[in-house]
């Protein structure tokens, strides 16, 4: 018998590149802005807090992209979720009821998109574009104002949003001599649970593997007896469901609803997934990669913010450069592989 080599295929290498890139970027931030507090654990945790919603959404997006689909309705859905929560709280509806309502809306919305994509076989881009316009429109129908959630409108929700989960390590003493313990918020806990559950689901459940199979070769998947339509339907339900959870995480961070909220969030989710090694053509990808994709985007924003002088357009340009880099790396790997196969 031959010695077993570690299964290092090009996808694993891509994931490692993503993780390495995150570490390099973060170290860069620490070196440049160490004095401004970048080295504190809290800076990293703040990236998590700000992007908790995006992590959930990117997980859902990854699942859809694995089936070679796409869901660009997520930005609109998040805006609608935030607006529903904000208006609902201000009307005095209890927070748990609103949260359930938002999740239910997400599920119904996902069933519709999934039905159109899976069973009516309409292009996912078109379906979710319609979904995007619909959700943006509905947000404005609910309210065109900027609605905030305050302590008066919902003490419970306010308490959730401001709850600090203190960590027992990594604190620092500030210049006034007060010890600051690092903390995360509830939305980070939710996001990390989502990440772990989806990671596990993709690796260890039939549904998870079906997503890969459908994206790898849809016709083959059907021939092998998988119900492709149902797999797609469930993928879109999952995406919208996770998007609603992400919307709640997002709302817990912003505590407001507005028509202009979460503009372009779908693109952030897609770019995170792509930087994390998910292929738009389907069948390849992992939520861990997408998680690091989100972190990379978050780190770039954080560096630009800490600098304070750079224009806010810099994160976009850097993300563009990164996306470009990753697409080039991916196609180089693809070229090497097809040469080997020849």
């Amino acid at each position: 018998m031959k010695l077993k080599k570690p299964n290092l295929n090009s996808h694993t290498i891509l994931l490692l590149i993503t993780i390495a890139l995150f570490i390099v970027l973060y170290c860069l931030g620490c070196i440049l802005y160490g004095k401004k507090g970048f080295t504190h654990l809290q800076t990293f945790l703040n990236i998590l807090i700000t992007n908790a919603g995006l992590i959930c959404i990117a997980c859902g997006m990854t699942c859809v992209m694995l089936t070679a689909g796409i869901d660009i309705s997520v930005g609109g859905l998040v805006a609608m979720d935030c607006m529903m929560l904000a208006v609902g709280m201000n009307k005095g509806i209890p927070a748990p009821v609103m949260v359930l309502l938002v999740i239910l809306t997400g599920l119904v919305f996902g069933v519709m998109q999934g039905f159109f994509v899976g069973y009516l076989q309409i292009q996912p881009f078109i379906v979710s574009m319609a979904g995007m316009f619909f959700t943006r429109g509905m947000t404005a129908v609910i309210s065109t104002d900027q609605v905030s959630i305050t302590q008066e409108s919902s003490p419970l929700y306010y308490a959730w949003a401001n709850y600090k989960l203190k960590l027992p390590f990594g604190g620092y003493v500030n210049n006034k001599g007060v010890y600051n313990a690092p903390y995360i918020r509830i939305n980070v806990v939710i996001a990390l649970i989502v990440l772990a559950v989806i990671f596990f689901m993709l690796r260890h459940t039939r549904f998870g593997r079906s997503l890969y199979a459908v994206g790898g070769n849809e016709q083959s998947a059907a021939m092998m007896g998988l119900n492709v339509k149902s797999v797609k339907l469930r993928a879109y339900i999952l995406s919208s469901f996770l998007c609603s959870i992400g919307g709640i995480c997002f709302s817990l961070n912003t505590m407001s609803g507005s028509v202009q909220q979460a503009l372009g969030l779908e693109m952030d989710a897609i770019s995170s997934a792509v930087i994390g090694g998910t292929l738009l053509t389907g069948g390849v990808g992992n939520v861990i990669g997408s998680f690091f994709g989100v972190l990379i985007n978050g780190t770039i924003s954080s560096i630009v913010k800490t600098n304070g002088k750079l224009a806010s357009s810099w994160p976009n340009i850097l993300t563009a450069a990164l996306l470009f880099l990753f697409i080039v790396v991916q196609s180089v790997f693809a070229a090497i592989r097809s040469k080997k196969a020849r």
Partner: protein, 491 residues
């Protein structure tokens, strides 16, 4: 079941007994694929019934999953697996063993997968992704998958077209093993040798109708071919013209030291006007690579090439096209045909790109040209606007051939033009090659079938391990060619 314009299957009876290997034969478009698709639930059928042993009701499958549940599994010519999943996953997807908490039991199915592949005598690491392995291994995985599903009926739809002899023998062993276990096997192939090697019984279809069912001993080759073609067997040996000793003196192509690093070692080659030159060798010996180097698909990085005694530089295929070359690639699905375009559009493609985008052809001109080639090559299509994907494999091949003929090339490279198509169409294509050469066109004919090249070529070059090793012209016999391909000491 009907296809556009043609009734694909017309009241066909087919019986498969337990523990037999049953060949399903017929020309392209005879209805073999359609019959299989009806059995496996991919296509619905309008009349008739399917009965299976042990099931009282007539069976009607609506999906491959239904078919698998009643014990009908299929392995297709094109591998229908997911390249991005591991071998083990491809074997078990959709029916993975589950653990107590409902997750898939990776350890168990990996072990089982390794055992299955070991039993079949295929050396693989089942945890590796499928795309890592050759097409032949992928095919074996597909068969392993079907076999492991406890099928009662196994349908093999041209499973051998991408396998080499040794792999075919392995497959046959597996088939015989299954047969002894009582599995009924439907075997579709174009290779007559293989039919006589393993099958017990033959059913012949023609134009969607049943010709007959015969025990193998009652149907010798000639009768089988006659039954498939529906006419007295046109003796293939006779198509080669008697003017065998024509001498060619005008050079069309002359290569000196042409090579492409990594795919083909430098070679010298002269091709005369009006000559049909064969390229023989095993799969992967550099036959296609030789053609690709001349045609510029792999840019040659050594040597010189003369066309019509003028030295030329070919950097990409369009240069070759402008010099009057054409190439029919061996993988028609990936490199040749554009399935979602019509027959007319597919025929126009090469001519259009040769002319450039500014020289548009009127629709009337296009129609005229398309019709001309449809009738010239007798392409079986309802009309010229039918999408190519609706045609059968042999007819798709003719469409690509028409595409290159439309550019009126002086030198045409045909890479495996007859693979996967039936005997009748094969003969037609061989005849066409000879006719073209009479018109003064030079043709390079690449094929795995020696008999076919003996019929068409006047000279052959032999490839081995990426190198041109021999050139045969006077002593062109099957024995000599075999010896040369096999290598070792000659005579």
């Amino acid at each position: 079941m009907t296809f556009p314009g043609v009734k694909a299957l017309d009241r066909v009876d087919f019986t498969l007994r337990k523990g037999e290997i049953h060949a399903l034969m017929g020309e392209n478009g005879a209805g073999k694929s359609t019959l299989i698709k009806c059995l496996t639930g991919i296509n619905d059928f309008e009349q008739g019934e399917i009965h299976l042993d042990g099931i009282e009701e007539p069976v009607r499958n609506h999906s491959t999953k239904d078919a698998q549940e009643v014990g009908i599994s299929t392995v297709y010519q094109e591998v229908n697996l997911c390249p991005n999943l591991s071998v083990a996953e491809n074997l078990f997807i959709g029916r993975e063993p589950l653990t107590g908490i409902g997750t898939i039991d990776r350890k168990t199915y990996t072990e089982r997968a390794q055992k299955i592949m070991d039993e079949l005598g295929v050396v693989v690491d089942v945890t590796r992704n499928l795309e890592y392995y050759s097409l032949a291994i992928q095919q074996m995985v597909a068969i392993a998958r079907a076999v492991d599903m406890d099928c009662k009926v196994l349908i093999l739809d041209e499973p051998t077209s991408s396998l080499d002899d040794e792999e075919v023998e392995k497959l046959f062993n597996v088939m015989r093993m299954l047969k002894s276990k009582g599995v009924g096997i439907i075997f579709v192939t174009h290779f007559l040798d293989q039919v006589y090697a393993v099958c017990d019984r033959i059913t012949v279809l023609r134009n969607g109708k049943l010709v007959g069912e015969y025990p193998i001993v009652d149907l010798p080759r000639l009768k089988l071919v006659a039954a498939m073609m529906g006419k007295e067997f046109d003796d293939l040996q006779s198509i080669k013209s008697d003017e065998n000793n024509v001498t060619y003196d005008e050079l069309e192509i002359s290569a000196r030291g042409l090579g492409h690093t990594g795919t083909i070692k430098p070679f010298d080659l002269d091709i005369h006007k009006g000559e049909v030159i064969g390229v023989g060798g095993l799969l992967g010996s550099g036959r296609s690579e030789l053609a690709r180097a001349i045609y510029g698909a792999d840019k040659a990085n050594s040597g010189t090439l003369k066309v019509n005694n003028k030295e030329v530089k070919i950097n990409q295929p369009i240069d070759a096209m402008n010099l009057g070359m054409g190439m029919l690639p061996d993988d028609r699905k990936a490199e040749g045909i554009i399935e979602d375009l019509s027959v007319r559009e597919n025929i126009m493609l090469a001519l259009q790109s040769k002319n450039g985008i500014f020289k548009l052809m009127t629709r009337a001109q296009q129609n005229e040209l398309a019709d001309k080639y449809i009738s010239l090559l007798s392409i079986k299509t309802p009309n010229r606007e039918t999408l190519v994907k609706q045609l059968s494999g042999g007819n798709q091949q003719k469409v690509i051939l028409a595409r290159w003929l439309a550019t009126n090339p002086d030198f045409l490279i045909l890479d495996e033009p007859t693979r996967g198509i039936d005997v009748g169409t094969k003969t037609e294509i061989q005849k066409l090659v000879l006719e073209l050469s009479k018109e003064g066109k030079s043709i390079m004919f690449i094929s795995s079938e020696i008999a076919e090249m003996l019929r068409t070529c006047t000279r052959m070059i032999i490839m081995r391990d990426g190198e041109k090793v021999d050139e045969l012209s006077d002593d062109l016999t099957e024995e000599n060619i075999m010896k040369s391909i096999a290598g070792g000491d000659k005579k």
